[in-house]
Symmetry: D2
Subunit: 374 residues, 4 copies
């Protein structure tokens, strides 16, 4: 089976090649780059020397000869490619934001500035957060000979944040209060394009927020919360999302604050100099078990044991999402922390996970790694 | 004038020596270390070679020969030293948590496990967050010949978080809703003691939360919020504080979410695909100006210009606290971000700032640096 | 087939588990730790949670139930274990220095301070630098039912340095002049034991030499040079080896200066303001081809194309050794640069490579990775 | 006194502003930037906010109103500016390579590609390595009213390497054998211009050599060796210089191998399994003392005590050059290691040190820092 990747000079495209190259069902990789057509991949990414030998072609060739097509191009390019893939009944998995909003063109336009190329394809596309949409993705896959298969692979921040909230939302633990998602990303989230902010001396040995209130992943997170919720409110509630840059290559760590509803809240004595640890621990352990049970059939979600907390370094280069459940000292707010590798579960790994579900492969095929400790 | 430092083998003590060594009013430094008595400072900290030559003695000698005494010992040791300093009318500035709780022994005991040694001294001590307590500290200083001068130098996280909230709280902008303080620290916050968590390969190239709901700075932050508030509620409201470790030597970046009260909130249309940028910007700029005006006489607070955000790398080795003011997309929550160098404004620099106020020096003496860009 | 690992709480042992867990021929892993007997590996290394489930036992049990035994204990413990493995005809691969010196007890004692436990086993052991000793290792493996198989897995620095020199030495390109090996290692080379030098703030954002003239890898490098040389001199010539610490988790980069013999030297005009680039380039390309041809059957050696230079980040988590060949501006000295991952080709990966050769597996089994770009 | 800086948008220019802003003799700074004329410095470098307020002008204005002019422009721009400064008898200190080669236009052209603009000015210029040329620089300064004062501020690598070799060369300890200078630099050495090699993910967590045999600092190092040598050979001997990139912001660490002459060499027994430590230590200590005595009047050179080694982190943001002296295990080669901050002693600090000598100020004015430990 041939996997095609369009846009391999970016970091996500390169990571896709790395993962696909050891996928047991993929026998051949076809790859395209507009800027490097005709060159060999190891000239662009020397890490691949002697490990992966691919001569880069163009998008049309890749679509022509592939059984599944991944696009790792910047936002705004996937519509036309999806159409070509759909025409030849080839599943299309897009790593950009283009197909993350289903038929909601209005939101996409408001945040990304361009209209949909082909509303029909968007309408049939599915948002590829496998843990939430596995059944829909598999259903698409089963009818792939006759129906279009277009997947909008989730953004990196929305993946980490949504997975941390999914059990609480779908079990109805939360009130309709404000949800706050605070997150930090490694610098690779900024891509390979040369920008001052990602020049080594501008970001190394420094930690900073960026794009407060204006990061494009905000509406994706907000929409996910709405759809994952047991009893969604009439209107979306605006999530607060604050991204930060941490001086490291890879990883996203999300810290999410979600208000418990009144049935769940503890009534702790606020006047005590320190809240009673036992009640908090018991409540925490109850939610932890709920999370563990909720995700027990999801091979890439690791709900951490009591007392443990996630760290981006412990999921490095793997498709895992590590989640810890905590409760605030007053027993009123869930504090969810989750860690992913932004290049893998936040991009290329999740795309391959989608492919696995579409084609009925084992979901861990090509993604079996025990991560290294560092 | 002789400055004395007790406990110089830790990072904060070492940073104090660095700052005091170029203070225009300090002509001599006396330093003590229980573990390194009799050795030279450059044997412990080779960076000081030929720049600073001090033979380490013991606490008693330091108190005996100094005109001001700093203690950079771990929690639990300052009580006895303060007493000795007070007996000879020498101002005492403690960098541990011992004197951060004034007369509130109950809270201190609940979080730090030990009772006060001498309740009387604690009662007279002042919390050394200069921007909030400048007048009280100066008043103490004026009577230093006759009255005890004991300063509890603030914790690093409480400094960054409290300074970001002070204008909003004291001007009554906030509701009584939940305040959330999310923060990241460089690894030096963990001190020089060898602990697995701070071994290079355990924390480098990784980002993680720690001590969720149990960090000892929580009650200090909560107390500060209470006292800074215009109309403090009858009981303290529990702040949620989540610290993280970022793979860098220095710096703290706090991101604080504070709910605006109903007079301040905008009524924005939640159904729009994207909130109206102009209203948010105007509201933001109004608060930014309020902050800038509020802090205009505080030489170490830099309220950033519109659109700018703080980064720990830009305050490195300086006593600055950089603050940016933002408003959430629904106009209901203030998002405050602040950056300090945890070793300087979060420890040694702030201690020297306290000394400057006590002795009536220029507040910037010894702390005049234009920080380097990296 | 069951692989046994003794000493899994150290970084190299942990890395061995990671690699063995995906080795196609290994169906079961047995692991021992003196300090953590009875615990699960994910309690020691949380990265393995749900990816690898092993209850740690003791050395005797591991040797009893394994078909191959790896020891990742500190120096000085392998002798006794090797004996036990040999008694039950189980191949034994030691990652410490204990079996790196063959029968040369004198050198081992002079540098490591202890005598051999059992000179006979040492005499039969083979130094496991596969690219140099593949035939001997394979021969040992073929007779593993009847003859002892004990492998001294090479040190990390000697691996990077020796592989860069091997073609030049064995083809007789070098004079008997001084060889200088200058190298930098990531901090993981210092192990997991808590030492001040590897505490984050002591080594982060700083570069420094260490153990000049006294690093224990020196005699191993010197011995390798002697044995790899076409016409070895009567006595070993003392190599100069200078290790450095670079602020990163993994990787070794060696820069080796080797004087060409008089037949190889160019006679360039030293008075020119700049040496003639063309002659140097041609000479360089000639050696580069020699190297590429020399290593063409070694799957883990990548001789880089003209103009490219190795970087530790490009071999991360892989078993590759990247080598570049350059010639000094006067045409008299070979400048060889090589990069490995110190935890993989410099330790655990090379140990698995040895196992593959011993058992006649494909040499890349378990080690097939296209490295990530970062 | 007004100091002028031309080219302040680069890292070295920015560092110059930081240092000059606290220089006791500088009352005003005038600064120019072709790309940012009319803007305020804090818009380019936010670290300067409220610490340094300068409106950027152009080169002509700066030269017009300054009592000393620094140029931190890229190579090739200083000739014309020097001429203008000289015409109004203003000392000119150039941080580029333009004036590092005195009257040797041939070498400059061969490596930098352009001829001298005005050979006369070059002829009168002095190479600003103060420890070597202090007397010449001071003499220039004394006649500054009547004679041109143009200083070529040394390159960062040549500074670290030359200072490590100066005592050995000038005391005639070395043979005429090959000198090898191996060095590692922080990423700031690459400047602020956006280049792929300095994009965070391309160089973080990785160590690599670059420009082997072709770095432009090579002829500067080679020339320095020639001039520092007691009995220089008839022709320059080609030094081997290999630069590396280490993943950190600042710092250069040089490791220099210099062959002792036959009077200095020890005759050690090469056949011993380990060289006799005592002889080596005695020889080392003898050279260490020679170095310490040699540099005893140089306030920025710290010859480290026996057993200590330099680290870039220990000289951070200071003008120190830390040097350690070692001898190879066979007693035949000096191994010199030196650390500087490439932005300070390797650029801006050294430029200010030159100014201090020219104007007869205390050499440490503006550069008095005890460096922080990290």
């Amino acid at each position: 089976m041939t996997a095609g990747v369009i846009g391999v000079t970016g970091y996500a495209g390169s990571e896709l090649l790395r993962i696909l190259s050891r996928h047991p069902k993929i026998t051949r990789i076809s790859a395209a780059s507009a800027s490097a057509e005709g060159r060999n991949i190891e000239d662009i990414y020397p890490n691949f020397l002697s490990a992966l030998s691919i001569k880069l072609t163009n998008a049309a060739s890749v679509i022509e000869e592939s059984d599944v097509v991944f696009s790792a191009l910047p936002n705004g390019h996937a519509g036309a490619l999806a159409k070509q893939a759909v025409e030849k009944s080839t599943p299309f998995i897009d790593l950009s934001a283009d197909f993350r909003f289903g038929s909601d063109e209005e939101t996409y336009k408001a945040w990304y500035g361009t209209p949909f190329l082909d509303a029909e394809t968007h309408k049939k596309s599915v948002y590829g957060l496998v843990e939430v949409n596995r059944a829909s993705i598999a259903a698409l896959g089963k009818n792939r000979e006759t129906e279009p298969v277009v997947i909008g692979n989730p953004g990196c921040y929305p993946t980490a944040i949504s997975l941390s909230l999914f059990p609480a939302l779908s079990r109805g633990l939360l009130s309709d209060g404000q949800i706050i998602a605070d997150a930090a990303s490694g610098i690779s989230g900024g891509g390979r394009e040369l920008l001052r902010a990602y020049h080594f001396c501008e970001c190394a040995d420094s930690f900073s927020p960026y794009k407060i209130g204006s990061h494009r992943h905000t509406p994706e997170i907000s929409r996910n919360i709405y759809f994952m919720e047991k009893d969604p409110p009439q209107k979306q509630r605006p999530v607060i999302f604050t991204p930060h840059l941490s001086p490291m290559n890879r990883g996203i760590l999300a810290t999410v604050y979600a208000p418990l509803n009144k049935n769940e809240k503890l009534s702790l004595n606020h006047k005590a100099p320190r809240p009673p640890a036992r009640e908090i621990e018991e409540q925490t352990e109850r939610y932890r078990r709920l999370y563990a049970s909720f995700y027990e059939n999801d091979p890439f979600i690791r709900v951490l044991p009591q007392g443990a907390l996630p760290a981006t370094g412990r999921v490095r280069s793997s498709n895992y999402c590590d989640i810890a459940v905590n409760v605030s000292q007053d027993g009123e707010t869930l504090i969810l922390t989750s860690a992913i590798d932004n290049m893998v579960k936040g991009a290329a790994g999740q795309a391959v996970q989608n492919m696995n579900v579409i084609f009925g492969f084992n979901e861990k095929d090509g993604l079996p790694d025990a991560p290294a400790f560092f």
